[in-house]
């Protein structure tokens, strides 16, 4: 092998090693896994939003040929459920049960499960299950759920309020300021009421599981698409009452996750239990209707904000109330996303006086939990709409108003009243760059002349911060977040000098395998072809505190770098012995271990040293044989990615149709590992963000409590013609807190997308005074705003 290296890999658009099987149709997704003897599960789900279950007659289903077992809540005696891992002070306990215990609380809630020879037969058996439902009054709106006399979703909790949390936090984070003073002093008080729509990741691959219990070895192998396999292993073992050492989670290719697979789900328990009962592999592949009904939803909030400003545009204070529609149960992260909304709402601005109440509310809807962005996009929607409303009220250009209030580049670290510490960035520079790229002044001019011709063009600016790189475990502890934020990495150099890297991260499309290989190749200074990345097997890979998320690669990358530092140090010690030199005189460079100043003469390849490390004939005192290292990296701080987006659209005032003119992105995610993949992540996140801004929505019928968007004909995801070409520019402000300067960026694209779009639409219709305060901005909604405004 050669250890001479021609490229540094970090910063290079290295082709993805993930691609080779995927473009040939040889990927291995959960549905493609079928061990011999596999039987298939189908799940009976509540057709009602709220109904008591008085009994389930399973006889006919059990009698059907090919049916192996039927599970109902009665079979779950002794089986636990998954805890909510984010347990804020005062938060009532409301875990998601594996099967509705006596009462179904949302349409799609699992009521029973059937296992049969094929999925076709299992569905035949579902048809034969006879459930005695007693329909109860339901509530699918947060305000209605808080009203007196509302149906109570979970009687044990007394009412539908799960938690009220106030920022600045009672966790001693954040600074209160003088909110009342700010409002007294203000020249203008601007208010806004925003409905952020309910939508979710809706990955193209639905969830799926294959559980395989080996009775003789007493081991459970679970093939799962979980983004956080270690945590699933821990919690699943606890729920099933078996030792964690018995559980192995294998993760194959994942067809998109977008945060939704961060959670633990009832089905994890159901397939495992069925496999243990039957002693054979049990497979469950979620169908699309189930995916829309029962994979967690995201976002939905009702926000009320008031902003105090002086007439020169200085924002003096911000206060708000955020009602988070949690659905029927708390899922894995509790009200976490809404908490993040409260923490992030001050965004890039120096708003010294801040107050926000966040209320988690139960409704008869699918649980609202982890989804790409995790409360950040919701926060950005509120504050960025408020900035535009304020600009409009004060007659100040929206770009100028932002500029006047931004935290300056020399003010970092910045302690925000929301409780976060912003590490670095240059907000005004990103804004300026975005305005330049979009040719702001020119577009503003054109806007005027076009309007005279009946073309309604609008320009929408939205700036954002994305607190990423979750997170320092000690801070998670302060936040009552019951998992660690660290990431482990094991690097093993084999006797031929090639590297195998073991990570708890899962490639879900974002190219983690490639980017971690790039980082490893760069730091070992060897060719990337000589780095293998092993992921997706809890028997081999390090425990991950937080698992894979769009914004965690930075943390994982540091773990890799740190493990490699140890490898290099050890290679130098071993090499020094072999070279008969003092370790202090030996250095690791270019994949070689050499005596400084005599690199030509006294030098060994990594392979030479590795071979010696395995022979172990001459291992230095205090060192162990072989050449491997594990490092568990706990980040010192969060990182804050940031940037500004500008959307330019035309609105057809007759139909409410929105046409794209331009979309410009300026982002700053610190050091970039792979520019091509970063672009892909931005595009993808934008598509999630704009999908929710324009098309995607889980609509519930108030009358019946039914989820109306339970097919892809009703839940509309963006297709090719719905999205513009994105123009992307980068600023690079390396994070001072992380090795390598990386910041998490896989989610950032969805943060400012919805407010940029909404601001652009409102701007296009400013002559009518239209304000766009609800997402998605559907043509029907937009037309009725235009109509009401007399347009």
């Amino acid at each position: 092998m050669t250890t001479t290296q021609e490229t540094r890999w970090i910063g290079v658009s290295a082709p993805r090693r993930e691609d080779a099987p995927l473009i040939r149709g040889r990927g291995r997704y959960i549905a493609d896994i079928e061990p011999a003897g596999t039987v298939h599960m189908a799940i009976l789900r509540s057709p009602y939003a709220h109904a008591r279950i008085n009994g389930i007659d399973t006889a006919a289903a059990e009698a059907l040929d090919g049916v192996h077992c039927v599970l109902t809540a009665a079979d779950l005696e002794g089986i636990g459920d998954f805890p909510t891992i984010w347990r804020l002070p005062g938060q009532k306990e409301s875990n998601t049960p594996a099967l509705a215990p006596g009462k179904a609380r949302y349409v799609g809630e699992p009521v029973a499960a059937v296992v049969a020879d094929s999925r076709y037969m299992a569905e035949d058996a579902l048809d034969l299950l006879d459930v005695d439902y007693e329909i109860l009054d339901h509530v699918v709106d947060v305000e209605a759920a808080l009203a007196d006399g509302a149906p109570v979703i979970n009687e044990d909790l007394g009412d539908n309020t799960i938690i009220e949390y106030t920022f600045p936090g009672i966790n001693a984070l954040g600074v209160a300021g003088d909110i009342e003073g700010a409002f007294e002093e203000a020249d203008e008080i601007v208010s806004g009421r925003f409905k952020v729509g309910r939508y979710s990741g809706v990955a193209l691959e639905t969830r799926g599981l294959v559980a395989d219990w080996d009775d003789l070895r007493q081991t459970l192998t679970l093939h799962s698409g979980s983004q956080v396999a270690s945590l699933l292993r821990t919690e699943l073992a606890a729920a099933l009452g078996i030792p964690e050492t018995s559980v192995r989670i294998l993760t194959p290719n994942i067809g998109g996750a977008f945060g939704n697979q961060w959670d633990r789900y009832p089905e994890d328990i159901l397939v495992s239990l069925a496999s243990m009962k039957l002693g054979r592999p049990v497979k469950w592949i979620e169908d699309r209707r189930e995916a829309l009904q029962a994979t967690v939803h995201g976002r939905e909030q009702l926000q009320e904000w008031q902003l105090a400003a002086s007439s020169d545009g200085t924002v003096l204070g911000l206060k708000g109330r955020v009602l988070s529609d949690q659905g029927a149960h708390l899922h894995s992260v509790g009200i976490g996303p809404a908490w993040v909304t409260g923490a992030a709402a001050v965004n890039q601005y120096k708003i010294a006086n801040y107050h926000c109440d966040v209320v988690g509310v139960a409704t008869n809807k699918t649980p609202n939990s982890t989804f790409r962005g995790f409360g950040g996009p919701e926060a950005m929607f509120g504050i960025e709409r408020m900035m535009d409303k304020t600009a409009r009220r004060l007659g100040i250009d929206p770009a100028e108003l932002r500029r006047r209030n931004m935290i300056q580049a020399d003010e970092f670290p910045y302690f925000s009243p929301g409780g976060a510490v912003y590490d670095s960035g240059n907000y005004p520079a990103a804004l300026a760059k975005a305005l330049e790229a979009v040719e702001y002044d020119k577009v503003r001019e054109e806007q005027q002349s076009l309007r005279d011709q009946g073309v309604y063009r609008g320009i929408g600016i939205a700036s954002y911060i994305h607190v990423s790189g979750f997170g320092p475990s000690a801070i998670l502890g302060i936040l009552d977040y019951y998992t660690g934020g660290y990431e482990g990495s094991t690097v093993k150099i084999d006797p031929h000098g090639r590297a195998t890297l073991y990570t708890g991260m899962i490639p879900m499309g974002q190219g983690t395998e490639t980017t971690l290989a790039q980082v490893a190749a760069d730091h070992l200074e060897i060719d990337i072809a000589n780095v293998r990345v092993v992921w997706g097997d809890t028997d081999q890979t390090p425990y991950t505190g937080f698992g894979s998320a769009g914004s965690r690669s930075n943390v994982a990358a540091v773990a890799v770098i740190k493990a490699i530092e140890q490898i290099k140090a050890k290679a130098v010690r071993i090499g020094a012995g072999l070279l008969e030199a003092d370790p202090d005189d030996v250095a690791y460079a270019d994949g070689r271990i050499s005596v400084k100043g005599a690199e030509e003469m006294r030098s060994l390849t990594l392979a030479d040293v590795a071979q010696q490390a395995y022979w172990a004939h001459k291992i230095p005192e205090g060192d162990q044989p072989t050449l491997e290292a594990t490092y568990v990296y706990d980040p010192a701080n969060f990182t804050t990615a940031c940037g500004t987006h500008v959307a330019v659209v035309d609105v057809d005032i007759d139909t409410g149709k929105i046409d794209w003119v331009k979309y410009v992105v300026v982002d700053d995610a610190g050091t970039i590992i792979n520019p091509l993949l970063v672009e892909g992540q931005i595009h993808g996140a934008l598509s999630n963000g704009l999908g929710g801004a324009m098309l995607e929505e889980f609509v519930y019928d108030e009358e019946t409590g039914q989820l109306l968007s339970s097919t892809l004909m009703d839940y509309l995801v963006p297709s090719f013609t719905d999205l513009p070409d994105f123009e992307i520019h980068h600023l690079v402000t390396p994070s001072p807190h992380t090795e390598g300067g990386f910041k998490g960026m896989g989610e950032a694209g969805c943060f400012p997308a919805a407010p940029a779009l909404a601001n652009a639409v409102a701007d296009a219709l400013s002559h009518l005074g239209v304000e766009v305060d609800q997402t998605p901005v559907t043509p029907s909604r937009l037309w009725s705003l235009i109509d009401q405004a007399g347009g």
Partner: protein, 163 residues
């Protein structure tokens, strides 16, 4: 259980007899009975395009066909694209231009892309967007798929390559 029927599925150039219930979709038969799992299922109601295959040379949704309907027809799945180690220019371009992330839509996208270029050898980005609108991708935001298809079209027109 209803009677099974015997049908011959000619997939990627070779015929195989399978015995299926009439209700079994072609997609399930391809995946389960033939073991060709590159054909994916994203919705089973015709909206997403993940199950796209070529039936007698035309793009179709394999989730909306019954296996018994394909008796004797010529079927091409993603596994039949590219010869051995040689990638089809469309496959090559998807990898080169980052036209895939999770890869779940990719087999369908590649087949749809080949179909578009076979009918329109030099498509504009807008034409690609309109023609491929029946295939959904949740990961890429489409821009890089459009670039991939355009790049592949250029290669295909010089190589005369096709499915």
């Amino acid at each position: 259980m209803a009677e099974t029927m015997s049908v011959v599925l000619n997939v990627n150039g070779s015929g195989r007899a399978v015995s299926v219930e009439p209700r079994k979709t072609l997609a399930d038969a391809i995946r389960e009975d033939l073991g060709l799992t590159g054909t994916h299922l994203g919705c089973e109601h015709g909206v997403c395009g993940a199950c796209t295959i070529l039936l007698d040379g035309e793009v179709v949704r394999s989730c909306l066909l019954l296996a018994v309907q394909a008796d004797g027809a010529e079927i091409t799945t993603i596994e039949g694209i590219g010869a051995g180690d040689d990638l089809h220019p469309m496959q090559q371009a998807f990898s080169e231009y980052h036209g895939l992330q999770c890869g779940f839509c990719t087999p369908g996208m590649i087949l749809a892309g080949i179909d578009v270029v076979s009918r329109n050898p030099d498509p504009t980005p807008q034409e690609i967007r309109e023609e491929m609108g029946g295939n959904i991708c949740r990961c890429t935001g489409y821009q890089k798929i459009v670039e991939s298809v355009q790049a592949a079209a250029a290669v295909m027109s010089t190589e005369g390559g096709s499915a």
